[in-house]
Symmetry: C2
Subunit: 252 residues, 2 copies
């Protein structure tokens, strides 16, 4: 960031994701984050090659952390490595999209259930507070603040479920979701989300696991279908390829 004296009229490149290296202990994490953000921002386009050596040069670390970072990104599904050769950014099919959203729905459903059944009451109250703040932001028509609190809301829910495995899985799925473009929060969308969160919060406070699970599932399905519809509207030819499944899975 600081090396670019000439402001970027140039195409955005990976170099703007450089980070400050302070001593030992963060090279892999920093490299992973930089590459991940670059991919999610579209700076590294699908099918683009990622050479270890060039990444090393741009980010200013050695090849070892770059390698490990590439491994992690492969686990997350953001890149694909061909054995003797390098890594390329994966392309996204509409089926991937379907899968990712469905998985997220299932995981968030579980999260809500566990939060409802296990979380201590003070954390539940804190969740409700967050929810109220979101409702206010929605009323004010402030999508930026809304989005900020939204992230906190889901993070709180995840923390309340208090399960490391679930946490890890959900976070990798979340990054995959971010590849499908930024969700813009229209006024109606925010209102709808507030209602859905309302249902979740109420069930969580009542310690009603089943209801919380269903509410979270509904919430995720709304996000899925709306994003998917938007995507399909944009690329209409794919409509035929996919007979949109819209079934309701029940969770015990």
């Amino acid at each position: 960031m600081e090396a670019n004296d000439e402001v970027s009229v140039e195409p955005p490149s990976l170099s703007s994701y450089r980070f400050a290296r302070g001593g030992r202990g963060n090279a892999v994490a920093d490299t992973t984050r930089a590459l991940r953000e670059a991919i999610l921002d579209g700076v590294l386009a699908p099918n683009e090659w990622l050479r270890e050596e060039s990444v090393r040069e741009v980010l200013g670390v050695s090849r070892t952390p770059v390698r490990e970072a590439l491994n992690r990104l492969e686990e997350e599904g953001l890149i694909h490595r061909t054995p003797g050769q390098g890594a390329r950014v994966t392309t996204l099919t509409i089926e991937d999209m379907l899968v990712v959203y469905n998985v997220r729905g299932s995981l968030e459903s579980l999260t809500a259930r566990m939060a409802a059944e296990n979380a201590p009451r003070p954390e539940k109250i804190a969740l409700e507070t967050l929810h109220r703040a979101m409702a206010v932001a929605a009323d004010r028509g402030d999508p930026v603040e809304f989005s900020r609190i939204n992230i906190g809301f889901h993070a709180a829910l995840t923390a309340m479920a208090d399960n490391a495995y679930l946490d890890r899985l959900l976070s990798t799925v979340e990054t995959a979701i971010r590849r499908f473009g930024t969700r813009s929060f229209s006024a109606e969308r925010m209102a709808h989300i507030v209602l859905e969160h309302e249902a979740i919060v109420s069930a969580v406070i009542d310690a009603d696991g089943a209801r919380a699970a269903q509410a979270a599932l509904d919430h995720a399905e709304f996000a899925r279908t709306s994003t998917l519809d938007r995507f399909l509207a944009r690329t209409a030819t794919l409509n035929q390829l996919l007979a949109l499944p819209r079934t309701r899975e029940k969770h015990p």
Copy 2:
């Protein structure tokens, strides 16, 4: 460590998981597999430390692939790394178990749906053939053969869904499942499974995605509840733990 290099009549140790190194290109995969199997077989006990140097010595590779293998196992949730210090095998809570089984159910449901909707007919016929062979093995009361074909059955279904992301996610979840002990196939259990597979196969052949999804979900749920019941029955003390409000202890 260096004393029993040759044969291990000693308590089973990691050294029996050594592999033949043939040239270049498999060190990470082989190391990962060896460690994973050792953990799943219980040879490496929960909470046991895994030092890079000692693993290197036992498995006969350098520290670099060992490091990468440890990273992958961490992603899979089998080990946990503490920053400045090494890695330890994770312990399993019953909530982990619940989560993992539920996730698998969701993923297999999606798999079945996509297989039903997208797979070409010859593969569907091949699936039915596998299913028939499983039914025969169940009738004969041959759990070993049954288990073998069972793995093939699910692999075939996964291949038919033809989605890389789903595939990767499902396989990591499968390894997590394997930590909960081997599922022994009783006669009744095999009969039940055959019936459930019957429903899946029929829906897949009819290209009925929704029915396939529901059938797969039922199948997974049966596996979950039966395994969970068995687990709870065996370790009755955990019954209390589950009923108790909560233990805020994280994985050590």
